[in-house]
């Protein structure tokens, strides 16, 4: 807990909390990064599950770096939002669930990215069952991450 208190006392935390532009700027960047990362990942997942089948898998694989830029924006802005209220977030189960789901969602994207590169070898252009399974799990993780992330603003479950 001392570590989170130290984070919360840092200059960055103070800036996010008290500057009139700090918090609004960081929270807006967090929404933009989310839209880019989650939006592109969900499109990739839906493509693997048979939607918009005119879009080549390889082109989506080459768009995934754009998604990772969104993830980078959110790692940085999320760090700012976290340190501003570190002791609160570190003990809030809703936030802990959200952050775990975000990293699980990102893990599915990291798993699917190299799989998309092998799309040329898929018979009939249909991904293997295990890849389709990851795509379904990915959508579930992202949906749950968005909902729990939004709920952190409304429902706190302190441990």
């Amino acid at each position: 807990m001392a570590f989170f208190a130290w984070l919360e006392a840092s200059g960055l935390a103070e800036w996010v909390r008290s500057s009139s532009v700090g918090y609004p700027t960081v929270i807006t960047l967090h929404a933009i990064g989310m839209a880019i990362m989650v939006g592109l990942c969900v499109i990739v997942d839906l493509r693997l599950l048979g939607k918009f089948d005119g879009i080549p898998y390889q082109s989506l694989q080459r768009l995934l770096p754009v998604a990772w830029v969104g993830f980078g924006i959110n790692s940085l802005s999320g760090t700012g939002l976290f340190v501003a209220q570190a002791t609160m977030f570190a003990t809030d189960l809703m936030f802990i669930a959200k952050i775990v789901l975000v990293f699980l969602g990102a893990a599915t994207a990291a798993i699917l990215q190299p799989e998309l590169a092998k799309a040329g070898t898929w018979p009939g252009g249909v991904p293997p069952a295990n890849v389709r399974r990851v795509a379904i799990i990915s959508i579930v993780f992202w949906l749950a991450a968005i909902v729990t992330g939004r709920l952190t603003a409304y429902i706190m479950i302190f441990i």
Binding site: P24, I43, K51, G54, I55, S59, R150, L151
Partner: protein, 168 residues
Amino acid sequence: MHNLPFHSLYDWMLTTWVNKVVLGYPWSWPTLESLHFLGLCVLMGALLVMDLRLIGFQRTIPLKAVHSLMPWALAAFSINLLTGVGFFFGDPYNYAGNWSFWAKMLLVVLAGLNFLFYFFAVEPKLLRLGPNDPTPALAKVVGVLSLTFWFGVLAFGRLLPYLGTGGG
């Protein structure tokens, strides 16, 4: 703020069942917020693929395939329109008195007009293009405007509680 234009409309909204549902249960507002964010992710994801292709990236995507993203983008936008109307009925004076809200709505209208222009005037000419064909300048302009307008919608929406809170 009862001197706002159309204030009788906002007063009426406060008397409707929509207002009662949005404000009457502790889970209503968070549920609408969650749906609004899910909708925006799907909308922006579809738009990024469509608009980046129009601008000239990932030319291996045929323009007919770009078209197949439209139903998803429109469905996501519909979710956000409905949930957004719910927010407005729940707290009309807060939104109507906030310039950030009107900036967001102006950008939604501009984005809609940009889409209609693309749909009726630009896309019919593009569908003849095969994979790897470069897009004409007009399509690139539509793509850049679309991303600019929609990211602006997202930014003004998120900044709404912090900018111009003249209502309430």
